[in-house]
């Protein structure tokens, strides 16, 4: 199928700190975009520690990797793995046996410009840290999504990353808060969204609540957005819709009325989970 838009958005998903949910975000947002019919490519730049293929459940189908493309061992088309469940979703896998400094920001830029004509969105999965891998990942992107958790260590790293993105000339930086627990925020045990926004001073793109289902689906290699009952799935779908420019309201987690709790109880009882 042809791409929907004439232009292509290259979006890097980054965080600084590891384990906050970059790869999960890339996997689910890209799947969600592909489900809406956009032509999407995901590029795993965590060379040496690849996980995106695992989370997308495409590990067995990987033949060539990004370093081989850059070194000219195969063509870009050969290396792109197409997801059978979502024909619009393509993945460019990272090499596991290689190293992050074996490629340069210029090579990534070049690769991206080859992909731009064919795709509506290119999502780049950035490795943790601020070294070569980070510089490679941000080189080609024109938008950045910063993923953080509501805890001080992740917020500190996010702050550092935002500073580096700003000095690299990024205009469009948005925040995704992952793994928030509304009950803990209510009791004042966790940083709230308002605290985070006030501290980091950037626009919010999405809030993903903590959800046990994410672990299950990650282990199975199925994107969580296929699970209708999951609150994280709804959040990732909302993020994808905001990326394509829809206005989606942020659900308020502050609601704690009697009826809400009763409804929640009923949902839990009947959902079987």
């Amino acid at each position: 199928m042809d791409k929907k838009n004439s232009e292509c958005h290259v979006i890097v998903v980054t965080s600084g700190k590891g384990g906050v949910g970059k790869t999960t975000t890339v996997a689910n947002v890209s799947t969600s975009l592909a489900k809406m019919g956009y032509r999407v490519a995901v590029m795993d730049l965590d060379i040496g520690l690849k996980k995106l293929d695992l989370i997308l459940g495409l590990e067995n189908r990987v033949i060539y990797d990004i370093v081989q493309v850059i070194e000219g061992e195969c063509t870009l088309k050969q290396a792109l793995v197409r997801d059978k469940r979502f024909p619009e979703l393509h993945m460019l896998p990272a090499a596991q046996t290689r190293n992050k400094d074996e490629i340069t920001p210029e090579q990534v830029k070049d690769l991206c410009s080859q992909m731009r004509p064919d795709f509506d969105f290119v999502l780049i999965d950035c490795p943790a840290g601020i070294e070569q891998g980070f510089r490679n990942a941000i080189a080609a992107a024109d938008q950045a999504l910063v993923v953080t958790n509501p805890e001080v260590s992740a917020v500190r790293d996010a702050d550092r990353i935002i500073g580096m993105l700003e000095s690299a000339g990024f205009q469009d930086i948005k925040l995704i808060v992952n793994r928030i627990r509304p009950d803990m925020v209510r009791h004042g045990d966790m940083l709230s969204i308002e605290d985070l926004i006030e501290h980091l001073c950037i626009d919010l793109l999405g809030v993903v609540p903590e959800d046990r289902n994410v672990v299950v689906s990650t282990n199975r290699g199925e994107p969580i957005i296929l699970n209708d009952r999951s609150s994280a799935a709804l959040a990732f779908n909302n993020i994808a819709r905001r990326i394509i420019g829809e206005e989606v309201e942020f659900p308020t987690f502050q609601d704690d009325s009697f009826w809400d709790r009763l409804r929640g109880l009923g949902r839990n009882l009947f959902s079987g989970r």
Binding site: R156, D157, D159, R160, I162, G163, M164, E166, S167, H199, C201
Partner: protein
């Protein structure tokens, strides 16, 4: 030309009034002759020669020490010396310092601002960000990082912020850490040097702090 003495655990480098190039070469040779000995030691600059150097030249001398793995423990105030020996020399306060820095955004973690004059930040300075200025630091927002005012030894420098909760304040050669249980105070404050070291107090526009305080 230059002498190096050990005082209170510091290496005191005393500069005589000689041209910068000579002083630089002499210091370089002195350190190079016993590099291992000097490595890691804390350096304080002193002497009548300091007043004759420009800020750039001072910075070059400091950088030289850093290159040899030494730790800067700051520069003694040239003001005191010049007052006693040569009253005609204008005190540094009245010299207009070019290169004040104005920043119209937040200074984020890991970013460092260095200024040859004063720094004014229209925004917040986040935790683990660093502001180093030869003169005053003025933050029109939250100051949560490390502030080093008067980095070339000007002890009349101040640090001002609408919300002053830094992890560390340095003014000239003094250092002060934040208290363990820091509470945010909802009024602007100013940090300055008095007899006991660095003090912080509520900013009062009717008091003349800062530059004119010492006259």
């Amino acid at each position: 030309m230059i002498k190096i003495k050990g005082v209170n655990g510091n290496l005191l480098v005393v500069f005589d009034a000689v041209p910068f190039a000579d002083a630089y070469r002499a210091l370089d040779e002195k350190i190079k002759s016993s590099e291992q000995l000097f490595k890691g030691s804390r350096v304080v600059f002193s002497g009548s020669g300091l007043a004759g150097f420009s800020l750039d030249e001072l910075a070059a001398l400091q950088q030289l020490c850093l290159n040899y793995g030494m730790v800067l423990n700051n520069t003694e105030l040239p003001i005191r010396k010049s007052k006693a020996s040569a009253p005609a020399a204008p005190p540094p306060q009245t010299v207009p310092v070019p290169g004040d820095t104005f920043i119209h955004k937040n200074v984020r973690s890991g970013q460092k601002v260095h200024s040859e004059g004063s720094v004014v930040v229209w925004g917040d300075v986040h935790e683990s960000a660093e502001i180093v200025a030869a003169r005053d630091i003025i933050v029109l927002g939250k100051m949560g990082g490390i502030a080093h005012a008067g980095c070339f030894g000007d002890a009349s420098s101040i640090v001002f912020a609408l919300n002053l909760i830094p992890s560390q304040i340095r003014i000239a050669d003094r250092i002060s850490r934040s208290p363990e249980d820091q509470t945010t105070r909802p009024y602007p404050e100013v940090a300055f040097i008095d007899d006991d070291g660095i003090s912080i107090k509520r900013y009062n526009p009717r008091e003349n702090l800062g530059r004119s305080r010492k006259k």
